[in-house]
């Protein structure tokens, strides 16, 4: 059968660089054998040969030609092996899968992007696109939260973004250290003062379930509309193509109908933050 007809086979990709972001998070730069065109918010399945597969969201700009980056937190079997990879190693890739962010729906609107933990990964890709096309959107606000200054991802980008005048960026940490001059506390705490057009403003959330739950609640309290909130939902996944049944979320499969959902699509399902 022809190439591309087997949705379960990965294509090869060479690891060209490994960047240690934090003690538990690494970014891998990969060069796939065939180009993978993804949109911000879509994900790929990464195979460590002989070990297994796990879903990750590319964190590099979607405009890159030959390479893509994934940012991986070490939490278990596959990710442990991902962290042992070195330049020159070969991994497998399938995808891209799912729906990304509906960028056209953001045009002309104020945007508040809220990220937590490893949720920074998909958001980095999105931020690159938003900043690339900065004039198409209204205000751009970024609010991030992580455990400690040492856990902060993408230090270089963060510094560069913090210096931009057309981006209002603020990061909070659960626990500060001697050098930390930013806010301390949960990300919901730094959502309070945001200056955004509530009628049309769009909220984009990605992070651990509790963070999304309370940030969603907060943005709604601030007056943003339900239909203007977009959430990246994380579920256990295996196939990535709507067949294996693992990632069901109400009447959707997170892999093919998400992972980015409009809040109104999912708000009535029971236990969405589970």
């Amino acid at each position: 059968m022809r190439s591309g007809m087997n949705p379960y086979r990965p294509i090869g990709a060479e690891v060209v660089d490994v960047i240690a972001e934090t003690p538990t998070i690494k970014t891998l730069r990969l060069r796939p054998d065939e180009k993978i065109n993804f949109r911000p918010g879509q994900f790929i399945q990464l195979t460590v040969p002989g070990v297994g597969e796990a879903p990750f969201t590319p964190s590099s700009p979607s405009t890159w030609k030959d390479c893509m980056e994934v940012t991986v937190m070490r939490v278990g079997k596959v990710t442990e092996k991902v962290h042992q990879l070195k330049p020159g190693d070969i991994v497998g890739l399938r995808g891209p899968y799912g729906r990304g962010y509906p960028l056209e729906a953001f045009v002309g609107k104020d945007l508040i992007v809220v990220g937590g933990g490893c949720g920074f990964a998909p958001i980095r890709t999105l931020m690159y696109v938003l900043l690339d096309q900065r004039s198409r959107f209204g205000k751009l606000i970024f609010r991030g939260g992580c455990k400690s200054p040492a856990d902060l991802l993408y230090g270089k980008e963060m510094d560069a973004w913090a210096a931009r005048r057309d981006l209002d960026l603020l990061i909070t940490v659960d626990q500060g250290d001697a050098g930390w001059r930013g806010p301390v506390g949960l990300v919901t705490g730094i959502l309070d003062g945001i200056d955004i057009d509530c009628e049309n403003g769009v909220g984009i959330l990605c992070g651990p379930p509790v963070m999304m739950k309370f940030s969603t609640r907060k943005l709604l309290q601030l007056g943003l509309r339900e239909e203007n909130l977009y959430l990246s939902m994380e579920k256990n996944m295996s196939c990535g193509i709507g067949k294996c049944g693992h990632c069901r979320l109400g009447t959707y499969y997170c892999c093919k109908d998400g992972p980015v959902f409009n809040y109104t699509q999912i708000k009535n399902f029971p236990d969405i933050w589970g």
Binding site: M1, R2, S3, G4, M5, N6, P7, Y8, R9, P10, I11, G12, D33, T47, P49, G50, V51, G52, E53, M73, V75, G76, T79, G92, P209, E234, K235, N236, S238, C239, I241, G242, K243, C244, G245, H246, R248, G250, T251, K256, P270, D271, G274
Partner: protein, 341 residues
């Protein structure tokens, strides 16, 4: 309507063995299992009721190699396709669900798709019902109406033969000498048996007061927080048999292992009753309790599938009832769901 004698039917299967691996249901104690055809021996039972194992096993294998290394090839073996004899209406109904899953959406599963195209289904009417049969409650008649190539209605002296696809029609037309005109009496006999079996299933449904599917609309959602789930799950031992034995359960896991020369990826049956089914990174589990997973099974079958595919993912085959070591009975749960205010 065509007719074939037992002897000629043996010839037909023998002939089909050239192109197919032929499987027939064989009786062993109280159950029927599919076995490779080796003549029409006494234990071969074309009629009776559904086999122990679900028909899906021939189309969506319990363990199927789906990828080798980074090769783009679809890993098809050289095996001849399968001809399954004696498949029952409830299992054929399950194709509606399996087709929706494996042939639908943006990607088709090439293994399932090929099996559906290449395999031959010679189904058969049920000739009686066992006490776990409740197909009629799910609008499935105990005799095939669709999704077969050839259907057999067992008679004393052979089978009444109906064709349901071009493939089936071609097989019958190409072997005209094996078939004869059925005649009116045989058709009457067949209808009589069918009425008989319908009556038996109706009796099951009445005796167990099993709700008809029309009463199931919204029943799971209404009872989402009810104590029914925890109550029913008390005896569950988390074996997953209810999932694997079910003709419509389609969930699987991609599992990699190191092959001789390269990695091999297998698609293996999974079961949503098992604890890790929905577990995510770091051990967080959206369904940590057994009763939540039992509820999930019913939600998927009686809430999700009607909403996304317009059909219930249950055929009333009763397999999960006989397979459950904990005596958890879908008929009782459905009754509780409908009766609970």
């Amino acid at each position: 309507m065509r007719y074939i004698s037992h002897e000629d039917f043996g010839r037909l299967l023998h002939d089909l063995e050239r192109d197919y691996q032929v499987y027939v249901p064989c009786r062993k104690n109280i159950h029927r299992y599919y076995r490779p055809y080796a003549g029409l021996t006494d234990d071969v039972v074309i009629g009776e009721v559904r086999a122990f194992e679900p028909l899906k096993a021939f189309f969506f294998r319990a363990r199927q190699k789906v990828a080798e290394g980074f090769s783009p090839d679809v890993v098809h073996g050289e095996d001849r396709p399968v001809c399954i004899v004696g498949a029952k209406a409830c299992d054929l109904k399950a194709f509606a669900i399996l087709d929706h899953v494996f042939r639908g959406h943006d990607y088709a599963d090439p293994y399932y798709a090929r099996a559906r195209e290449a395999n031959l289904i010679i189904s058969a009417d049920c000739t009686y019902a066992i006490d776990t049969c409740f197909c009629l409650a799910l609008n499935v008649d105990p005799y095939p109406r669709e999704a077969f190539d050839i259907n057999l209605s067992p008679l004393d002296d052979g089978f009444l033969v109906e064709t349901g696809s071009q493939k089936g029609t071609a097989i019958v037309a190409g072997r005209a000498a094996l078939f004869a005109d059925a005649g009116e009496q045989r058709t009457r006999d067949r209808n009589e048996t069918r009425r008989h079996v319908i009556h038996a299933v109706q009796k099951n449904i009445e005796q167990n007061r099993i709700p008809h599917q029309d009463a199931l609309e919204g029943a799971v959602a209404r009872n989402y927080e009810a104590e029914i789930w925890a109550d029913e799950a008390q005896t569950c031992v988390e074996c997953g048999a209810c999932n694997t034995i079910c003709p419509t359960c389609h969930c699987f896991l991609l599992y990699d292992q190191k092959g001789k020369a390269h990695i091999e990826r297998f698609r293996i049956w999974d079961a949503c009753l098992l604890k890790d089914f929905a577990r995510v990174a770091g051990g967080a589990n959206p369904r940590p309790k057994l009763w939540m997973r039992l509820r999930n099974r019913f939600e998927k079958k009686f809430d999700f599938f009607p909403k996304v595919a317009g059909m219930y993912a249950c055929t009333g085959c009763g397999r999960c009832i006989s397979a459950c070591p904990a005596k958890i009975d879908i008929r009782r749960i459905l009754k509780r769901l409908v009766n609970h205010a």
